[in-house]
Symmetry: C2
Subunit: 324 residues, 2 copies
């Protein structure tokens, strides 16, 4: 149990990262209007958010630029068209997926880029490439974090091996990622304890990226705050793939650091989120995501179920049970 | 932190109580069809739910019987028309509100009633009347629980005084009720510790009834399970006043006792909940409820905001801030 004083007071080390464009972009092919992106940028500044993730550094030889909005690729020029020189306290991040990013060529020196943070996203079986990307980004002058995805069905010994390799790399932040939204708070605590051992040993920070399949994204995030995790991902109105993420408005309401302010988040949501929903983007807690979360499965079947407009939940449950 | 074995195994003392008709009835004036009530009863039996709360024992001299469905009043004959002699493992509960129930006359002897459990709902300033109702129900042969409502803005010393009085009464179960959906898991744990002192002293069981204003109803409920709270309230699809309750489907998915089964819950939701929504009943997490939860306020303003179809969230936030 956390102490009362910790609920009332705050840790200055906390960093809030807005992942709306990146995780949210997965449900609308990154087709955000410039107006939306600019308004989100301004909302983040006013809300005291620390980092704003713009999107992916997708490899243009793998992904058709005509099929996605610009934030699938996050060209420096595009980001600069929104943020100018970004003379603010809000730092800019982008995600680089192992195997889907031509990082050596497409990520330029930090001194030439509006980007501050490279977020390397990896599966457990790709750690050496992740390390190569981390070293590349670090050499180019960036802050670097690493998201190890889909850990909820990984063995602890594999996670420990990965953390020991990543610990020796120059990465700054190690992220706990509950890709399937299947972890309960107690499991988050246990997972943090594993990460913490290596974070302490190698002097790294910890972060958490939660999904809302079982309505636990916010609960797991604040559980993590109480256990020393500093970097917290959230998205406005939970916008993100499948059941979505930890809601920014809930997180800003919870955090007590005076620099955070929930009101600009409410204003942004009120003005911009209805149009995104109306444009056909679908996300958020629903029974199909609860079921894949419960069974600790990738949400792809639930996403398909949603896209097809199906409502035969009990049939779906039998289908995914058969995949176990 | 809870032990791994506690997550994998189960406590046989756990009781799941379905509050769909009672808390859900608050959003549709208890206008459930007999078909719905019967199907819910059968779903609960198949899902292994322990108690089903049918509704309120409302005082007919206070509430117009033409303005509400029958579960506002829970006449024994109506319940019997659904459950017959109820020769099942599912027990039947009803709620009796202090000050809104003519309990001496309207609650008959348990031997003549299909009801097993009387749930006395009280505010802190009504404890002596609650005790009188508890004694009355106990003398008539019922199991009796007591919900102390709206504790999130009560002083601990007042809660302790109430628990000491209730502890000396013949009540069986003391319920922690987060009426405003404002408690964080750490606060739930601290609240449980207070209740536990008196539960241990007076040999009472503990229960929890959570609301979902901050998407924490399920998280708070499973936090409580890990801390020795045995009676767990939930509702199908979270149906309940305002932001709704802990979702039955999430709770059944979490609990490991083999007697619980999530599949009948999914089937019920699929078949019956769309029609309830289509009939105009509105509930569930939304920004206005997040805001009243965050500010630890009664959700009545958010319910009004919802009824009026308003979407000016930032204006609403300023309004309720002004009420502080």
């Amino acid at each position: 149990m956390k102490e009362v004083s910790k609920l009332m007071d705050y840790r200055a080390d906390i960093k809030v990262l807005d992942a709306t464009l990146r995780d949210g972009g997965l449900v609308n092919e990154f087709r955000f209007t410039d107006d939306f992106v600019k308004a989100l940028y301004l909302a983040n500044i006013r809300a005291g958010v620390d980092y704003m993730e713009f999107g992916y550094k997708g490899d243009k030889s793998m992904f058709d630029v005509d099929k996605f909005g610009p934030l699938k690729f996050c060209d420096d020029d595009y980001i600069r068209s929104i943020v100018g020189e970004n003379n603010t306290d809000l730092k800019i991040g982008i995600m680089a997926d192992v195997g889907r990013c031509n990082y050596k060529e497409d990520i330029h020196d930090a001194s030439e880029s509006p980007v501050d943070l490279i977020r390397v996203a990896t599966y457990l079986h790709q750690i050496p490439t992740a390390v190569s990307m981390i070293e590349d980004a670090k050499n180019k002058g960036y802050e670097v974090s690493c998201n190890i995805m889909a850990i909820s069905n990984a063995r602890e010994s594999d996670i420990e091996a990965a953390l020991d390799i990543l610990g020796k790399s120059p990465v700054d932040v190690l992220y706990i990622v509950d890709s399937f939204g299947s972890l309960y708070p107690e499991q988050v605590v246990r997972t943090i304890n594993i990460y913490k051992e290596f974070a302490d040993k190698y002097n790294k920070k910890l972060g958490i990226h939660a999904h809302n399949n079982q309505q636990l994204a916010f609960a797991n995030t604040i559980e993590a705050v109480g256990d020393g995790v500093d970097w917290l991902d959230a998205t406005y109105a939970s916008m993100g793939r499948g059941a979505g993420n930890c809601a920014m408005e809930l997180l800003l309401g919870f955090l007590k650091n005076p620099k955070y302010n929930v009101y600009p988040a409410i204003q942004f949501i009120e003005k911009y989120m209805p149009a995104i929903r109306a444009s056909g983007a679908v996300w958020g807690y629903d029974f199909q995501y609860m079921m894949t979360g419960l069974l600790n499965q990738h949400p792809r079947t639930a996403i398909e179920f949603t896209k097809e407009g199906r409502e035969d939940y009990s049939e779906f449950y039998k289908e995914i049970l058969a995949q176990e």
